[in-house]
């Protein structure tokens, strides 16, 4: 029997209080895990999306032109640039259908569109089904052309219809919204040259875009981290309270321990061990609940494929080690109080 086993014993003995203290840490740790995990997963998802959609450089109509489509002449000028190759163009425009905007997007790679029903060709999303009442086999008239819906996808937040890029371009009077390309030299330099040589376009490099998106997701991660950390800190404060009460209740016991030869450091160590143990157990259970929460949320958001990325090892270890360390810090003041107890007065305590 040593003081560390005694600390473990104390937690076991005061089950309700220990559980309530741990509950605060569990909630904080689980929130930290879920919020950071889901945000990290979303960041990965966004990065994957940006990577699959972008080449070295993306050329779009400059904001000053007042249009979001480039005509064929401009597109040809871009295609004739010697320092660009491997082009991919996208046409995106909207059509007013009974007062609701329906977006038409050209698709180059149908693998990017995950179908829930039907086949490729003319695919609408669920929003279009819900807001416009379309279904497979229905006809949609866009810019004088009739499209027959062949499939349904869950993607996008607004009503969308996805068609082959060639069809989208044809429906948009041979115009494109963006041209993606690889560059033969430094993308930044090429982007500047393209902007100089082709009037009315804006060229951004993939790294600029990705860094913009990464910055945004990084900020979201930080924000979520701060919110969840507050929850964890509230839990940790309850450790201070619990340990202070424990020290007060055990005044006589601590006096006896000192009288039979335990040093102040040993007493301090046992209190810190006890508070650290509360933090460790709370953090551990919180991580387990957090993992369960992540799996549920990821499935709800249809991000199941990103689940492994939502629970990286750094997050799991960080939450457990963090809650343990913070709890040990929370135990410092009660431990100091315990070690400074006057033995004679402590022995008189009833």
């Amino acid at each position: 029997m040593d003081l560390y086993k005694l600390s473990f014993n104390n937690i076991k003995r005061r089950k309700l209080r220990s559980s309530l203290t741990m509950l605060g840490i569990i909630i904080g740790a689980a929130m930290l895990m879920v919020l950071l995990g889901v945000t990290a997963g979303l960041t990965t998802a966004v990065k994957d999306e940006t990577n699959s959609y972008m080449y070295d450089i993306a050329i779009t109509p400059a904001s000053g032109t007042g249009s979001y489509l480039m005509d064929n002449q401009t597109a040809s000028q871009i295609r004739n640039q010697s320092n660009l190759y491997d082009f991919r163009e996208v046409t995106l425009f909207s059509e007013d259908i009974n007062g609701t905007e329906l977006y038409v997007e050209g698709i180059n790679n149908w693998k990017d569109v995950k179908l829930t029903n039907g086949t490729q060709g003319v695919v609408i999303n669920k929003v279009a089904v819900e807001e416009l009442g379309y279904g497979i086999g229905n006809k949609i008239e866009v810019n004088g052309q009739e499209l027959t819906v062949t499939g349904i996808t869950k993607e996008a937040q607004a009503p969308y219809v996805y068609v082959n890029q060639s069809i989208a371009r044809q429906m948009a009077d041979d115009k494109v919204s963006a041209i993606y390309a690889s560059t033969t030299g430094d993308p930044e330099t090429v982007a500047d040259e393209v902007e100089k040589q082709v009037t009315g376009v804006s060229a951004v490099t993939k790294s600029e875009k990705v860094s913009e998106i990464q910055e945004m997701t990084g900020q979201a991660l930080l924000f979520m981290g701060i919110i969840a950390s507050i929850a964890l800190i509230v839990g940790i404060i309850s450790v201070i309270n619990t340990m202070l009460i424990s020290v007060m209740e055990r005044t006589k016991e601590l006096g006896v321990l000192k009288a039979i030869g335990f040093t102040n450091w040993e007493i301090k160590g046992s209190i810190l061990f006890e508070s650290g143990l509360l933090g460790f157990l709370g953090g551990f259970i919180g991580v387990i609940l957090g993992v369960i929460g992540i799996v549920i949320i990821a499935n709800l958001l249809d991000l199941a494929e990103y689940i492994p990325g939502m629970m990286p090892l750094w997050l799991i270890l960080g939450v457990i080690v963090g809650s343990t360390l913070l709890s040990i810090i929370a135990g410092l003041y009660p431990a100091m109080r315990a070690s400074k107890l006057n033995v004679v007065e402590a022995l008189r305590n009833e």
Partner: protein, 223 residues
């Protein structure tokens, strides 16, 4: 010449109480030899408990010289004081002060240096507690509790046992049994023993009875 286990020379202990000062020990002079068995008696407020606290290095004198086994304690660090308490002193309290969540074995093993289970069992067996190893304090009688406390005090082979009213909570039969155990330890193992008591019957087991009043020794009776 006999080796001294405890030496008090003109020891004072003064407490602040309200606006005034109270002398719990007023120039106490007492020397106890190794292997002695001493009972300290006196009315409430005579300074018996303070004497025991200073002797057990739980409290420090305000003034004067105090030595345990020749070692002056006033300049020792807290850690060294704890070491002395663990190695040299065995405490027995009136209310036993066993940890309620631990079994007899665990209570005795708690302060033990080196954690030797066989030795713990040996000490408990010596106290007649061979069938109480795994009992918690709530499952033991008063006499058994005090015997576990004595086992705990003995487990590190101390040179002195300090007992504060060890029979205060016991009936006559158990009180005599406890005092008999202390007397046997003193006679057979040579452990020095100091017992603070109100009970003349308990004090009669000692070889020397010291009477205190107003923080001083006022009378010494030897057998």
């Amino acid at each position: 010449m006999n080796k001294h286990v405890l030496e008090f020379k003109n020891v004072w202990k003064t407490y602040h109480m309200g606006d005034g000062l109270v002398n719990a020990l007023s120039g106490l002079d007492l020397t106890l030899d190794e292997g002695s068995f001493t009972a300290v008696m006196g009315p409430s407020g005579s300074g018996k408990s303070t004497f025991l606290h200073v002797a057990g290095i739980l409290d420090t004198p305000t003034m004067g010289l105090f030595r345990i086994n020749g070692e002056e304690t006033i300049n020792l660090s807290m850690k060294e004081q704890a070491r002395l308490r663990r190695n040299e002193i065995g405490f027995i309290f009136q209310r036993f002060n066993l940890l309620s969540q631990l079994t007899s074995l665990e209570n005795v093993m708690l302060p033990m240096i080196g954690k030797d289970l066989e030795k713990v069992k040996e000490v408990l067996d010596k106290m007649g507690l061979e069938d109480k190893y795994h009992k918690r304090p709530t499952q033991l009688s008063g006499g058994e509790l005090q015997r576990v406390a004595i086992a705990r005090a003995l487990v590190n082979d101390p040179s002195i046992i300090l007992a504060d009213e060890p029979t205060g909570e016991l009936d006559t039969a158990n009180a005599n049994s406890i005092m008999q155990i202390l007397q046997d330890l003193n006679r057979n193992n040579g452990v020095s023993i100091v017992v603070v008591t109100h009970n003349p019957a308990s004090a009669s087991f000692a070889d020397e009875i010291v009477h205190m009043s107003d923080g001083k020794i006022v009378q010494k009776d030897s057998k």
